[in-house]
């Protein structure tokens, strides 16, 4: 495991820092622009108030009082150069005009808008700057125009904000870079630890699991997901193992018998009656092997979902009624009673052959595992979005410890395998339910085996 900081750690941290720095710089810029605009608008407001005050003074005491207010003892006439000097010194300039004749103030021409207005003033030197101008009529003939450069407050704030932003952005970039570097480094170490653990898992996938020591929710979630996946894969692996053992067990017995029959046939050559009997028995044993394989092929084919392409609208009520009529004599002959109750015209979307097999397998299961004299029933009820199909019997039922495994392939509660069958019947039932989107449960705490199937119905 590489415990030193790598180029990738640095590169990744740098990428993150660059993105975050741009974000911070942009936010600083926006904040500065807002503050400076606010200062500018305050200056406008102050100028408007000041000009109103001047107007009052003029109306009361004439323009001498205005000059006094402006701290001017003489009656200055500033030419262009003097005006610009004042502006450069951050002094304001004004022009008091009586019917187009300049009484006092600047000869410089500037805007005479009655609303405060900012304009860029071109001095053809390095002192180009923005001027706030405002004009007001003092009397009918006399008007006053004032031009102010940007306030000291504005200039100071601007400089301060730029410097603070620059220092702030650089500082934040550094801090972020180091935090991210540390984070990347620690996460890489933890991922490398997980990779080492995964290597161990690959050696014993059923027992070893990942564990995440660091306080990182993403890695914790990832670890939990991987462990969940490993559990599922282990379970599948277990099923495959059980299945292989089941196949071996279920096939070994009939095949051994066939082998014995062949040996007996070799011994009985010439005895036609014995040979015929051996052939009959061997054929029967091979049939059971072939039947197991056929069921396995059928099960895999159902699970592959390819039957879905043949799905059509099926009248479940009719299908159940037909099947019950067919099976009633079979149950009767075996000393059991089969009854059914169905509501009419319950339809679902499915494969008729598979639905027939679903019912046949459940009925045969009931026939096989219930006692003589038992009552077996099929019920079909219609609910809002589904049909409830129940197949049950009042036989001895299924032992509690066997119940969780009855849908597993090759699982047989009857370990001695004294009854016919290959432990695939209920697995096929489960697969048929799955392919139809139906839920299948064995009802707990019943006197017999009662299966409930909820089939999604079609209202077409």
């Amino acid at each position: 495991m590489n415990r030193s900081i790598t180029f990738t750690d640095l590169y990744n941290s740098l990428k993150f820092t660059a993105a975050m720095t741009v974000l911070f710089a942009a936010s600083f810029l926006v904040t500065s622009i807002c503050i400076l605009s606010y200062i500018k608008s305050s200056q406008e407001k102050e100028l408007v108030e000041y000009v109103e005050e001047i107007k009052g003074l003029y109306i009361e005491d004439g323009y001498e009082s205005v000059l006094h207010e402006f701290d001017l003892e003489e009656q200055p006439i500033w030419d262009r150069v003097e005006s610009i000097e004042r502006l450069v010194d951050h002094e304001f300039i004004f022009a008091l005009v009586d019917r187009g004749v300049l009484l006092v103030g600047s000869k410089l021409e500037f805007s005479s808008n009655t609303e405060p207005e900012w304009s860029s003033f071109d001095l053809k030197s390095e002192h180009d700057f923005q001027l706030l101008t405002l004009s007001i009529a003092l009397t009918e003939d006399v008007s006053l125009s004032i031009a102010q450069p940007l306030s000291y407050e504005y200039m100071f704030s601007k400089q301060l904000l730029w410097q603070a932003s620059l220092i702030g952005v650089v500082l934040i970039a550094f801090i972020l870079f180091f935090i991210r570097l540390l984070f990347n480094y620690r996460r890489r170490l933890e991922i490398q630890t997980l990779m080492t653990q995964l290597d161990e898992v690959s050696r014993s996938p059923d027992s070893v699991r990942l564990s995440c020591e660091v306080n990182d929710s993403v890695l914790h979630d990832l670890t939990a997901s991987v462990n969940l996946m490993l559990d599922k894969v282990s379970k599948l692996h277990g099923t495959t193992k059980t299945m292989s053992v089941g196949i071996a067990h279920d096939l070994k017995t009939p095949l051994s018998r066939v082998a014995n029959r062949l040996q007996s046939m070799a011994q009985d050559v010439g005895d036609d009656i014995a040979i015929t009997s051996h052939i009959g028995h061997a054929t029967k044993d091979l049939h059971s092997v072939i039947s197991t394989f056929n069921n396995l092929v059928r099960l895999n084919s159902i699970e592959s979902g390819k039957h879905k392409q043949n799905f059509q609208l099926i009248n479940l009520s009719e299908l159940i009624n037909d099947l019950t009529l067919s099976y009633e004599p079979v149950f009767e002959d075996s000393g059991r009673v089969l009854s059914h109750s169905t509501v009419d015209c319950v339809c679902c979307f499915g494969d008729k052959d598979l639905l027939n097999q679903l019912l046949c397998n459940l009925l045969e299961n009931a026939l096989e595992y219930s006692n003589e004299g038992s009552h077996v029933w099929i019920r079909l009820q219609s609910h809002t979005n589904c049909a409830l199909l129940q197949v049950g019997d009042n036989g001895p039922g299924i032992d509690k410890e066997d119940q969780p495994y009855i849908f597993d392939r090759f699982y047989r509660a009857d370990l001695g395998r004294t009854k016919p069958g290959n432990g695939l019947g209920l697995s096929i039932v489960k697969a048929i339910c799955d392919v139809h989107g139906a839920s299948l449960v064995l009802l707990p705490d019943q006197s017999g085996a009662v299966f409930n199937i909820e089939v999604p119905i079609s209202n077409q």
């Binding site: 009959g280 072939i290 084919s301 099976y327 008729k352 598979l354 027939n356 097999q357 046949c360």
Partner: protein, 224 residues
Amino acid sequence: MNVLFVEDDLEIASFIKKGLAQYGDSVKHVSTAQEGLIQASSSDFDVIIFDRLLPGMDGLDAVKVLRASGVATPIIMLTALGDTSDRVSGLDAGADDYLVKPFEFSELYARLKALTRRKPLTVQSVSLTLGELVVERTSRKVTRAGQIIELNTKEYQILEYLMQSPGQLVTKTMLLEKVWGFNFDPKTSLVQTHVSRLRNKVDKPFSFELIKTVRGSGYIISDE
């Protein structure tokens, strides 16, 4: 019967050829789909047995080609793929029957016989008669020696199917397919139970049996 047999597995081919020869039928065996197509379109056969998995060409496609070129000879497909959806695709392609390996020779032979007999039966006979047994197909009335026999739906369907092939073997699988529409084999004695009840009604009250059991294979109806 004059049979064309397209099969690349020589062991199965020899097993079938031997079986057909025992019944006195003539067999032309070829191992590739191409040869099968040439033979099927150039000579007149009563029935064609086509294996599904052939080298170089799917038997399913070969059957489609044959049907497209107007060959109407009955075809039975043999396959190791044994499921309803495969069966459906086989029948959709134009095959008349579909049999899953491994199978018993008697099963194949019964199906071949059923296929070759089909031609005259396409004209639906209004009634089927076998000795003193008469099945009226429109009214579903069954009489033996003038005596009316009441049958339920399944019993009637079984009898009707048997009566279409008098003297010929009808297997349990054929009955499951034709009467119940099942493409799977229920473990229980569903067919046996219904045939037994049918015999109780058709044979038991009378002097001799019309429906005979061929042990391990199926049933034959005949008045001999």
